[in-house]
């Protein structure tokens, strides 16, 4: 313990670095997470169609809570080139151009579709309105190249939804006219031709307080686990230094089990890991709100589960440090391999990029990382208010990893 306390750089790495990481990464990612959660997406809109389609699409976008419709820049109207310029500059992510006569073109398409249902010998039943023949697309979308596919899909889905409603409205109008002309039946206009299917949304949580994931709930546990695993560097370095200085050999000649000495050392680092976790979580509870971010919240009944995950993660990190310290032959080797491997395991485990942003393949790969097991345990506690039984699989995986590390160290030492 004394050795660890004398190693100021090591202590700074274990406590100050993760604290800085939590603050910086949470501040950096806060806006991104808010976009994912609730923040409106600004969309440049040019509506050249002053008819049903254009008006309804713009209204639909405006009424949606997801989009912030921008039709004027600095109080001035803009054209398609100015729109492209704004996207290229990265000021906006998405631009929508609704073509002139888009409504007329849409009506013509619908009428042609209906006409095709009648026998040819009946002759034309509609007079098609004149329109620009080049108007094959009613709407053109411009994207900033760095726009994430999730945002692209978001706007396309919204436009499909709004246009489907307009199509239905136009279709109903045409059929109404047709019924009137052919059968002399007057159909009443209806406003209820959209949202016929009702979707109910609910978070899959049994808790009363339904918590939406945010930057704090991701970053605090993620960097806490990362910091706990960084214990590998001082622990492994210490073991190697002991070997290189001859202290390990001296210890072998002394009464008492060699394993007891390693165990004693492991216990110190295990406790430090727990202290790290408590310290980092306190930052999430009390410091981050001072920077205008959410506060980490936890229900008191989940505290045993939190304690279990912290203990299991600290054990896994200690085990990993022991195995690296046993196998590495120099301090340089252990610090380089230790830090790089922790960074890789962190990246795979969803510390840098949360797993819900990963591809399906990478999500599968992420399950191989012990940092992912710990992170999922924390997620379950902070997002689902999981109890001790629910986080048990993660704790068990981390404990097995710890035991495996000890076994490898033992066999490696014996083999050597």
């Amino acid at each position: 313990m004394l050795l660890l306390f004398r190693d100021r750089a090591g202590l700074a790495m274990l406590f100050v670095m993760p604290m800085a990481l939590i603050l910086i990464m949470t501040l950096l990612q806060d806006s991104t997470f808010k976009i994912l959660e609730e923040k409106q997406m600004s969309v440049l809109v040019l509506n050249y169609d002053a008819d049903t389609f254009g008006i309804n699409i713009v209204e639909g976008l405006k009424q949606s809570s997801v989009f912030d419709v921008v039709e004027r820049l600095d109080g001035k109207a803009f054209d398609e080139n100015a729109m492209k310029q704004q996207l290229m500059l990265g000021n906006y992510r998405i631009g929508i151009v609704i073509r002139k006569n888009a409504t007329t073109a849409l009506k013509n398409k619908i009428r042609l579709g209906i006409q095709a249902q009648f026998p040819v010998e009946e002759g034309p039943i509609f007079d098609l309105d004149s329109t620009d023949a080049s108007d094959t697309a009613n709407v053109k979308l411009y994207f900033d190249p760095i726009t994430q596919s999730v945002f692209r899909q978001n706007i396309i889905s919204a436009l499909h939804e709004f246009s489907a409603a307009v199509e239905a409205k136009i279709l109903f109008g045409i059929y109404a006219d047709l019924f009137n002309d052919m059968l002399d039946i007057q159909l009443k206009p209806t406003q209820k031709l959209k949202n016929l299917v009702v979707f109910e949304q609910e978070y899959a949580s049994t808790a009363i307080n339904k918590i939406v994931p945010n930057a704090v709930q991701h970053n605090v546990p993620a960097w806490t686990i990362f910091a706990m695993f960084f214990i590998v560097i001082p622990l492994a370095g210490n073991l190697i230094k002991e070997r290189q200085s001859g202290v390990a050999m001296r210890l072998k000649t002394m009464p008492g089990s060699e394993q007891a000495v390693v165990f004693g050392k492991g216990v110190v680092y295990f406790v430090v890991g727990i202290l790290q976790a408590i310290f980092m979580l306190l930052i999430g509870f009390y410091v981050l709100p001072l920077f205008g971010m959410y506060s980490l919240k936890i229900d008191s009944h989940t505290l045993p589960a939190l304690a279990l995950i912290i203990i299991a993660t600290s054990m896994a990190a200690t085990g990993y440090g022991i195995v690296i310290g046993t196998i590495a032959t120099s301090q340089e080797q252990s610090s380089i391999f230790g830090s790089i491997s922790v960074v890789i395991l962190a990246a795979l485990g969803g510390v840098w990029v949360p797993t819900f942003m990963m591809s399906e393949f990478m999500v599968t790969v992420s399950k191989l990382s012990p940092l992912n097991w710990g992170l999922n345990g924390f997620y379950d506690i902070f997002l689902r208010n999981a109890n001790i039984t629910e986080v048990l699989p993660y704790a068990a995986s981390l404990t097995i990893f710890f035991l495996l590390c000890l076994l490898i160290s033992r066999f490696y030492t014996k083999f050597k």
Binding site: L3, S245, M249, L251, T253, M254, P255
Partner: protein, 250 residues
């Protein structure tokens, strides 16, 4: 029935992995209680390997060792309590103070409380290190480190002390303090087995020596008698060169 020696080494053999020559080859040696025994030899002769085996640091491939009637293989734990080891390296935590190092090693030998404190203080005075108790090891000179390194091996007053080149790389003053203290310790009953490259030191310090080369003992006896018996040799160094040759060793 012949009386058993304090340390009995019979047919000791040590093979390292992936080597074609034994580091220690069928070595036989008896050391009596109260002796100061020197194990001398050129680089790579097998001295440190033999000492490491006796200290329980590394396993051996063949043969048998008994110390004070206990088999090293079967009674390692009991033997660890009566031996003291002073390795060639400065086997100390350099970020800890001398006191913190000695307290840690003393605790491992089962020493505790005021007894340990006063024992540490006595040893520090005996080795001219009074006032340095609370200084970190990394601030010490080479000679001071070596003296603390020795204290760590004798805190528990061992019955047998194994020393691997305890005076290497230090000034004459430090060497004299160490040798004088070891002689005192020996007078109090501690059996000493040590390795060295300093022939002159071994000649005057040891009651008996063995010259070892290529894992085998090639000569042993009291230094003065060996010098007397070997024609043309006036010192232990002459005998050493005569027996091991002048060819450089790796």
């Amino acid at each position: 029935m012949a009386e058993q020696s304090f340390i009995e080494i019979t047919g000791l053999t040590k093979w390292y992995k992936n080597t074609t020559v034994a580091a220690v080859d069928q070595l036989n040696l008896n050391i009596d209680e109260g002796e100061i025994f020197g194990l001398l030899g050129p680089n790579g002769a097998g001295k440190t390997t033999t000492l490491s085996i006796l200290c329980n640091q590394i396993p051996f491939s063949g043969g048998d060792i008994s110390i004070n009637g206990f088999s090293l293989k079967r009674n390692a734990m009991e033997l660890k309590k009566i031996i003291g080891v002073v390795p060639q390296e400065i086997a100390l935590y350099d970020k800890l103070t001398a006191f913190e190092n000695l307290r840690f090693f003393g605790n491992l030998y089962g020493l505790k409380g005021n007894f340990l404190k006063s024992r540490i203080a006595d040893c520090m005075v005996n080795f001219g290190l009074e006032g340095k108790l609370n200084k970190k090891i990394d601030t010490f000179s080479g000679g001071m480190k070596r003296r603390v390194n020795l204290i760590a091996g004798i805190l528990h007053k061992p019955r047998i002390l194994f020393l691997d080149e305890p005076t290497v790389g230090i000034d004459v003053q430090s060497k004299t303090v160490i040798i004088d203290y070891l002689k005192e310790l020996n007078k109090e009953g501690t059996t000493i087995l040590y390795t060295s490259h300093h022939m002159d030191e071994a000649e005057h310090f040891c009651t008996r020596i063995a010259i070892i080369d290529q894992g085998k003992i090639i000569a042993k006896g009291a230094p003065s008698e060996m010098i007397k018996l070997q024609k043309g040799c006036e010192s232990l160094e002459d005998i050493f060169l005569h027996l091991t040759g002048r060819k450089l060793r790796d």
